[in-house]
Structure formats: C-alpha cells, structure tokens
C-alpha cells in the first residue's frame, strides 16, 4: 500500500471520528435543551424549590452553585498558580519533582465520589462542621488544584525563552521576572484554564453530595451578614447545588413534576457550562490580542 493511500485512509478515519463527536455533542445539546428549555422561565429561576408540590424553582440551587464556585476558585486559583510557578520555574528536575508530579496527576484522576467521601471524613466529621459550603469548596479544591497547577505550569513554560532571558539579562531577579514578564504573558492561558475548571466545578455533583449536603436552609436574600444563619453568604451552611439538585429530585424527589424540574435544571446547567467555555475562549483571545497588539 503506498503512502498516498494510507494518508487518505487516515484522513478519512479522523474526519469520521470528528464528525461522530460533533454529531453526538449536537444531539446531546438538542436533547437536553429541547426538553429543558420550555421549563426555564423567569419564575423557575427565581423561586425556591418545593418539597412536595409542583411548580418549585431552582433559585437557591443556582445561587449555591455560583457561590460554591466562587469560594472554590478563591481558594484554588492562588494555590494552583503558586504551585504551577513552582513546578515551572523552581522545581529542579529529579526524583522529588517527579514524585510531586505523580502525586498531582493522581490527585487529578481521583474519582470525584472518592473525593466526596474523603471530604465527608475530613471536612464534615473531623472538623465537626457538618454539611457546609466551605466543606464542599475544599473538596472541590482537591481535584481542582492539580488542574490549576498543570494549566499554570504549561502556560508559564510556553512563554518564549527569549522573553525570560531579556528580563534576566537586564539585571532583574527571577521573582520579579516571573511577576512582570512571565505571568502577564501566561495570563490568558491561566485564565482560560481557570474558567474551564470553573465549568467542571459548576457541574460537579458527586463530590458535593457528602460535603455540601442535599439541603439548603431558608435563605433571606436581603441578609448580607455572612455570619447569619439565613444569610446566603454564610459559608457554614449546607448548600444543595444545581447538579446535586438534579440528582436528588431524580432519586428521591417527592414532587409530582420531577421530570420538568430535572429537565429545566439540566438545561440551565448545560447552558452555564457552555457559557463558561465560550467566555474562556473569548477572554483568552481578547487578552492575547491586547498583549501582542499591533503584530
């Protein structure tokens, strides 16, 4: 068989695989959105869920998802970025670094239900907090940090060597070079990574079942005191997120409109994750253009 034919066959196979993937994705979106979108009304988004009657909404779950996401990212991003800087710039190649890298990769590939059970043990039982937002956020941090470290390390490594040399050759310290040359250059990559990780956090259910819990206290959105019991900002309250809500109404819901609520919530979730992805791409390219303006 000559190489031209091999090349053609390979190209054909790749096209087919790509086409199957796109078709699958489109069908999935169509299925979820066509079932769910009709349920998504303003009322659905802004009323609390109900336990027994039909017509409940997802207001608290939507808020909880966003809030846990924010708390998780506040913890994850600084730690992950520092870790990534360390791995890219300071870690000397060798056994210890390889060991650290293996650990990070293992952490990233832990099944989320296992992370959830681990969280139950540590952040719920040992600390005695019970089901809390902070417990959920810490559990999510566990498998988000490896992603952030990886993304940051890659982004910093992909900064052209010339840029780093330029700064160092001017008599600037390594740390200052990292801060003023490497990080700004790597920023679009880090940001894109952070937003993609956010999408994952937003859709996560298993790790939150046993850490942030399956319930939400009655919230008073007028109360912004983060220490009040009924304040939405209290991080020591249980919080059922959107993804967890979908799971819980489906498995143990007593409401008559289980299907409608689940479908509507799924549609909202999918749209949110989609938005995260689009936002990541858009922001990344805007900032990249700004950085390399005029070229």
């Amino acid at each position: 068989m000559n190489s031209r034919i091999t090349d053609r066959i390979a190209t054909g196979v790749f096209y087919t695989i790509a086409a199957i993937m796109v078709a699958l994705l489109l069908y999935l979106f169509y299925f979820i959105l066509s079932n769910g979108l009709p349920q998504v009304t303003w009322d659905f988004l802004t009323s609390p869920s109900s336990s027994y009657q039909a017509g409940g909404g997802i207001r608290d779950q939507l808020f909880n998802s966003l809030y846990i996401l924010v708390i998780t990212m506040i913890i994850t991003v600084p730690l992950g970025v520092c870790g990534g800087i360390y791995m890219a710039e300071y870690a000397k190649p060798g056994k210890i670094t390889n060991f650290i890298r293996t650990c990070i990769e293992m952490l990233a590939s832990l099944p989320s239900i296992v992370v959830g059970l681990f969280g139950l043990l540590i952040f719920v039982n040992i600390t005695g907090w019970g089901y809390t937002i902070i417990g959920g956020a810490l559990a999510l941090t566990i498998f988000n940090i490896p992603v952030m470290v990886r993304v940051t390390e890659d982004a910093i490594r992909s900064v052209p060597k010339e840029q780093k040399e330029a700064s160092l050759a001017l008599g600037i310290t390594r740390w200052h070079t990292i801060k003023t040359v490497l990080l700004p250059y790597a920023f679009p990559g880090i940001l894109t990574g952070a937003i993609l990780a956010s999408g994952r956090v937003f859709g996560e259910a298993a790790a939150l079942l046993y850490t942030a819990g399956l319930s939400t206290p009655t919230l008073d959105y007028g109360n912004w005191n983060p220490f009040a019991e009924n304040s939405p900002l209290n991080i020591f309250r249980p919080a059922e997120t959107l993804a967890v809500h979908i799971w819980s109404v489906n498995t143990q819901g007593l409401i008559p409109d289980v299907r409608e609520v689940a479908n509507g919530a799924s549609a909202v979730l999918v749209i949110a994750v989609l938005l995260f992805n689009i936002l990541a791409r858009w922001l990344g390219s805007v900032i990249h253009k700004k950085l390399t303006a005029g070229k």
Partner: protein, 277 residues
C-alpha cells in the same frame, strides 16, 4: 555597584572619568578571561580560553557554527546559569573580581554587563515601558527622570526620531530592526559598562544591519563591546580586536586588522578566505 558579599558599595568611578581622558591612555583590559572552560554535561564547549577583552573597544568573536561563541559570550554575564547542565571552570576577572564565583550577585552583575540577543525580544508592552521595565524594578519612580532616561537611551540607540511620537504604542508594532535597536536602548538604560551582542544583526535586513553597525561604532566611545558575528565583513568593519573560535578553542586573538590581513594561523586564514570566497 557592588555584586559581591565582601565588597562594599562602590561608585562607578570609570564613568566619571571623561571619555577623552580615557581614550588618551592605552586601552586597559576590562575583562580578563583566564583558562575558561565551559561544559554542557560532559561536553566541553569552550576549552580553556584566554583572552583580555579591552575597554572601549569592539571585540568580535567569529568562527563556524557550534564552535562555542554564544557559550563564551553568555558566560560573561552568567546567562549560562539558566542552563542546568552547564558548568564553568577558570576565571573571568572584572574589576578585580572573578565573576564566575558562586557568591557573585548575578543580578547586579547583569546590570553592569548588558546583553542583546540574536532575535529581537522586546516585551509585549509599549516602547516606553520596555525601557522603564528594569528602571522601575530598580526603584526609579520619578516620571521626569524616567522620561529623560527613555529619551536618552532611545537617542543613543538611534531610534528616538523614529518613535518619539508613538512611545506608548506596543513595541511589537516596530519593524525587526527597530525592535533590535529598542532592545539595545533598553540595555543602555541600565548604564552598563559592557555590552554583549550575540549576532545582533543576523536576523535583520541590510539597511537595519548597517544602522546597527553605525550604532556599535558610536557606542564604542562609552562602552566596551563584545559582538558575535557570522558576517566577516561586518567583523572587519566594526571591531578593533577579533577572536577566531574553532571547536571550543580560541585559535587566534589579535587586532582585527592583523587577523583579516595577515593572520598567524593557517586555520584562521582558511576560515576567513573561505568565507570571502
């Protein structure tokens, strides 16, 4: 500037001497390279090199690709420290101190011995900020002083007239030759004593190339310059001294005139004439 633990702050005395006074005296040696060997792992890329680099002169390093020119020039401001496998033996004496010592403050050293690379590498910032990047790091915040240094260094690098109306535009919008002169300006803003240029013009068009050459001849008045070049006629035009490298050895180091008209070594002659065709 002090760059060793045991040397107290010292002013740049040489800078205070008027250039005319300096030129009158016979050129002194600013960098004394003694038995310098540089290894990458087990590979010896520079083999016990000896060379007295003169003050306020242009020293050209020539030789075929891979003979160790970049390795040599990068060891002078310790850029080879960035390559984990590299290791240097021997001495480079600058202002009475062996700058290869472990306890040298390489950050301070690099601000005295500036370097410009083969590929123009401006930061993706404005022209103005490219120059103030290092100044700000050194604590200079006064806008007036910064403005003045920016203008001065751009003038010295013969770029001022071309960019004075767009200082706050991105440096990436400059042509390759302008970018390279900006990189030179950025280095000059640090007021270095020595300028290391590793093939600074090889990526540029002939016009930019000759601009850089003119610039080097001007800068010689105030700086000691070491330049790596593959362009034989460029070496003969701009340099006072030339060192011919071959496989990590310095085959011959002498006045440029002598090297190009009457080299003592047959290998030098072969290389130069081979290049001239």
């Amino acid at each position: 500037m002090n760059y060793t633990a045991d040397r107290p702050m010292e002013t740049k005395t040489e800078k205070e001497i008027a250039p005319s006074e300096r030129k009158a005296s016979k050129r002194e040696v600013v960098l004394d390279v003694k038995d310098l060997s540089i290894f990458y792992g087990n590979k010896e890329a520079v083999k016990s090199a000896n060379m007295g680099i003169e003050k306020n002169a242009v020293t050209a390093l020539i030789g075929p690709s891979g003979c160790g020119k970049s390795t040599f020039i990068r060891s002078i401001n310790r850029m080879n420290d960035l390559i984990p496998s590299s290791r240097a033996e021997g001495e480079i004496i600058y202002e009475g101190i062996n700058i290869l010592r472990d306890d040298i403050n390489v950050v301070a050293l690099r601000s005295e011995i500036g370097m410009v690379f083969q590929k123009p590498n401006p930061f993706p910032k404005s022209i103005y900020n490219n120059i103030t990047h290092a100044l700000k790091y050194n604590g200079q915040k006064n806008k007036k002083v910064l403005d003045q240094i920016v203008e001065e260094s751009l003038r010295k690098a013969a770029l001022w007239d071309e960019v004075k109306d767009r200082l706050h535009q991105s440096a990436m919008s400059l042509s390759g030759g302008q970018q390279q002169r900006l990189c030179i300006a950025r280095t000059l803003a640090m007021e270095p004593q020595i300028l290391l240029l590793d093939e600074p013009a090889s990526a540029l068009d002939p016009v930019s190339n000759s601009k850089i050459e003119e610039l080097i001849l001007q800068l010689k008045e105030d700086y000691s310059i070491v330049i790596v070049t593959h362009n034989m006629s460029q070496a003969s035009r701009v340099s006072d001294k030339t060192a011919f490298f071959l496989n990590g050895d310095i085959v011959e180091y002498d006045d440029t005139k002598k090297i190009f008209t009457n080299p003592s070594e047959a290998r030098t002659e072969e290389y130069i004439s081979g290049r001239f065709g």
